[in-house]
């Protein structure tokens, strides 16, 4: 049986179809999850995709974290279900307390869309086993509030435990501390990152297909489980 990966749609979510397409490209089954339903429809993993949930007017992700669907997501996360937050999804996971830290306005003060090199620093999470340690991958970054910040103890803990998953290479595009592009929870099941692996699954429509590895990785993890 193929693994079922849920993709949440909030009002204002934009990259849900793209995340679903990436799951399908990797051979999984993508299942739509609706923000207003406190129901994960029996999925094996969840992607919180990018966009501007509720317009991101208050703070990015601040309103989405209270959506009914987030209750079961938080419960499932506690039981070790693989969760991936991309861009706005990363912001939502931080607001929901599933990942430490927060994302702030880019240091250049405007939205940045560019093809960004990332260095893979942790290949043991549910979402990154297909990569080689230290590999450099090319993934689109597109965000206005992508600067990762955390208080010193939290940052030290992330670094000390090797929980920084991706780092920006070839220049820091948004002022993130320690060039952090993506992090994981203590168990390596929840990953959040600002760049968009779902937009790097085919060189026709993205800068590379380097992002597919994340979706293959989680399917490996689910099949092995």
């Amino acid at each position: 049986m193929t693994a079922r990966v849920g993709v949440i749609t909030f009002p204002g979510t934009l990259d849900d179809q793209d995340a679903a397409r990436a799951v399908k490209y990797a051979g999984g089954e993508a299942v739509s999850l609706w923000h207003a339903d406190a129901d994960l429809r029996g999925v094996d993993a969840v992607i919180v995709p990018g966009g501007f949930s509720y317009g991101d007017y208050l703070r990015c992700g601040a309103i989405a974290r209270f959506a009914p669907v987030m209750g079961p997501v938080i419960e499932a996360a506690a039981k070790g279900m693989p969760i991936l937050g991309i861009c706005n999804g990363f912001q939502i996971l931080c607001e929901a307390g599933l990942l430490p830290g927060a994302l702030v306005r880019n240091s250049a003060m405007h939205f940045v869309c560019r093809d960004q090199w990332l260095k893979v620093d942790n290949t043991s999470t549910a979402w990154t086993t297909r990569y080689d340690q230290g590999a450099e991958i090319l993934i689109p970054l597109k965000s206005g509030e992508g600067g990762y910040v955390a208080e010193k103890p939290a940052l030290d803990e992330l670094e000390g435990e090797g929980r920084v998953v991706f780092r920006y290479a070839g220049g820091n595009p948004n002022g993130s501390l320690n060039d952090i592009a993506g992090i994981t929870d203590a168990r390596g099941r929840i990953v959040g990152l600002m760049p968009h692996p779902e937009h790097a699954i085919d060189a026709l429509t993205g800068p590379s297909d380097d992002g597919l590895g994340m979706f293959f990785s989680v399917l490996d993890a689910l099949v092995a489980a």
Partner: protein, 79 residues
């Protein structure tokens, strides 16, 4: 030195999507009775004593607020 607070708010007749988003979220979180929310900005300026009110108004209208769509108030507070 004096502390000056400049509050910048969207003009009453101008749409405020930010405030509206918060107002719509509150009932979903179980908070009833809030009929309107408007979101603005607050600036705190430390200024020398010889900076007069006229200059402060110029600062507020020329830079801090976009007077096409925003109103502002300037007040000196205890520092």
């Amino acid at each position: 030195m004096a502390r000056v607070v400049v509050d910048v708010m969207p003009k009453p007749e101008i749409l405020d999507p930010q405030g509206q988003a918060v107002a719509k979220a509150l009932p979903r979180l179980g908070f009833q009775g809030v009929t309107e929310v408007r979101q603005g900005k607050r600036f705190e300026l430390e200024v020398d004593d010889d900076v007069d009110d006229e200059t402060l108004t110029k600062i507020a209208s020329g830079l801090l607020a976009n007077t096409v769509i925003e109103d502002f108030t300037v007040r000196r507070v205890e520092s």
